[in-house]
Symmetry: C2
Subunit: 338 residues, 2 copies
């Protein structure tokens, strides 16, 4: 297996990215193709020990930043690490691609260069979402702000396959984010999506409300990209806000400082559960080849874990299974129509 890496994407590139790559090669026994400024990457690589043939470099002198308008950047920055990397993926130089760079550009590039899976209308961003029960997958976390019902239904298929194959959930539950649990609730989009999902082969558990998302009610949390993005960011904001309240409470007097000291080990464990670094990356679902988005502020550990996710994404043949499932869905749909 060979994985293509955007060595220049993210806040800590290339230092932490290269470090994470070396750790992944040593730990997982895979081969990597690093894309980026060859001179800088070589300097970084010299710091470490690894089987020399296992990491190669493909030079790309430009970088797409978060300030670039995504679609424009993909069209114009032809020598950027992201474009060169995605082209290498499309041309078969590797089995998957990972980047901690601009999410929008990765999505645009995935669509323009790698193309969509036949039968999938839109590619979705996902986010691995920590709940009190474990990990769920939020689809779409921000790619498609104006959705049609069939997109949501397709997101359901893709999310379900990913949760089953990569996250090892048997028969994952799929929930549709809505403002009430009853079938007739919601806006036009979710009402129609509900009908499609009900008639699908998915383990559809119906509508889920904001209140039960963090409690892990569904393994796959379905929403359009607007609602999904609000969910993702509000979850982050709530965690920040509550922990800042806690910190203030802990530091307010000697008694509470002592209490906080005693609780420190447990609070650390708790923060770890919610830590993006342990999760690594979020798959982009809907492109013909596996692509993983690593967190923008990834350090080497987070990036290594992102590569681990990508390895599963490839090994478990997620994309083939999605294609097969779509075929079944369509047959199923035809049966109903007949």
């Amino acid at each position: 297996m060979r994985i293509i890496v955007d060595a220049m994407g993210g806040d800590n590139a290339p230092i932490e990215i290269v470090k994470g790559c070396v750790e992944a090669v040593n730990e997982y026994g895979i081969k990597l193709l690093l894309i980026g400024k060859i001179d800088i990457i070589q300097v970084e690589l010299k710091k470490y020990n690894y089987p020399l043939g296992d990491i190669e470099i493909l030079d790309a002198q430009d970088i797409i930043t978060n300030d670039d308008e995504p679609a424009n950047a993909i069209r114009r920055k032809k020598d950027s690490s992201m474009v060169v990397g995605l082209k290498a993926l499309a041309e078969g130089l590797g089995d998957g691609f990972i980047s901690a760079g601009s999410t929008g550009a990765l999505l645009a590039g995935g669509l323009f260069i790698v193309k969509r899976i036949p039968g999938i209308d839109r590619a979705a961003l996902t986010s691995v979402y920590p709940t009190t029960k474990g990990l769920s997958l939020l689809v779409d976390a921000g790619a498609n702000v104006d959705c049609k019902p069939e997109y949501l239904s397709q997101f359901g298929v893709m999310g379900s396959v990913y949760m089953e194959k990569v996250m090892k959930k048997t028969n994952p539950t799929v929930g549709l984010v809505n403002i009430g649990t009853e079938e007739e609730k919601g806006n036009q989009l979710v009402k129609e999506a509900y009908k499609m999902l009900k008639n699908s082969n998915l383990n559809f558990i119906g509508n889920i409300e904001g209140r039960t998302i963090p409690l892990g009610e569904a393994d796959v949390i379905l929403a359009d990209g607007f609602v999904g993005n609000v969910i993702l960011k509000l979850t982050e904001g709530m965690a920040i806000s509550i922990f800042s309240h806690l910190k203030e409470a802990f530091m307010s007097n000697t008694q509470s400082k002592l209490g906080a000291m005693l609780l420190k080990p447990k609070l650390k464990e708790m923060k770890k559960i919610m830590d993006y670094r342990e999760i690594g990356g979020a798959p982009l679902l809907g492109t013909r080849m596996p692509i993983v988005k690593a967190h923008g502020s990834s350090d080497s550990l987070a990036f290594k874990n992102g590569i681990r996710q990508l390895i599963s994404f490839i090994e478990k043949e997620v994309i083939k299974t999605i294609t097969d499932s779509l075929g079944e869905q369509m047959e199923n749909q035809e049966d109903i129509e007949e």
Copy 2:
């Protein structure tokens, strides 16, 4: 001032509602008209001391529950405490109405019986939203799942007036919930709403993301009823989920149990900040007369605080100010068009 009270709405009606009413009469020196089963209410009232003429009862033998379909219930349950109360409000028997009963029915009844403010296309549910900075107001918290841009702009006017008059925020900031801060971000709805808000007299601070909502970035948090409802319920769910994680951490061993004991007073304070009972009620914005929705699980304290909110809603002439502001907005809009 006379306030009309749905004495039969909510999980703890009529016992806690009546108790809260008596406390409000004694504390705020107002008059109340309680609507509901007269015999039961009389039994409850006999438990307390209060100036006898200050609480009157209007009999209504039926009750609208959360299981009733809202619009149907308003049409058919003509002898319900909610319908009788709203009719009394429309007929001028009181200055405002409060209910802890079905939110949907209160909204439907408000629209059908009390009617909308001229110039307002839709009434909105609101929610007083606790942030790290204080209290914000979320509009719309769930009434209008399919919105037009002008509704959002009108919600902005109403929310802004309420925050200024009742919540005493000078020149309250108005933020539009979106997936990014840049003007061109988002779905069709918010892109158009952005333009309207930018040209308004409001203190519009632009788009706000999910991440900064709990940090109190905007005093008025604008969203369509679908997104607003997800925000409201997810916020609740995140608080529940994090506190359940904390509780588990605190109880896990002797050391952490001791730490938790030392922190208890501070954690209690923190929970109080986030407690709906202290806030009381959420105004319904857009009807011709003031209506407040008290939390369904209100106890007497929460209900009394809800009445306190309604008193400000009435005293500060929120509805008159909204009507005046709408006039100014329209003149302003015409100036731009000329």
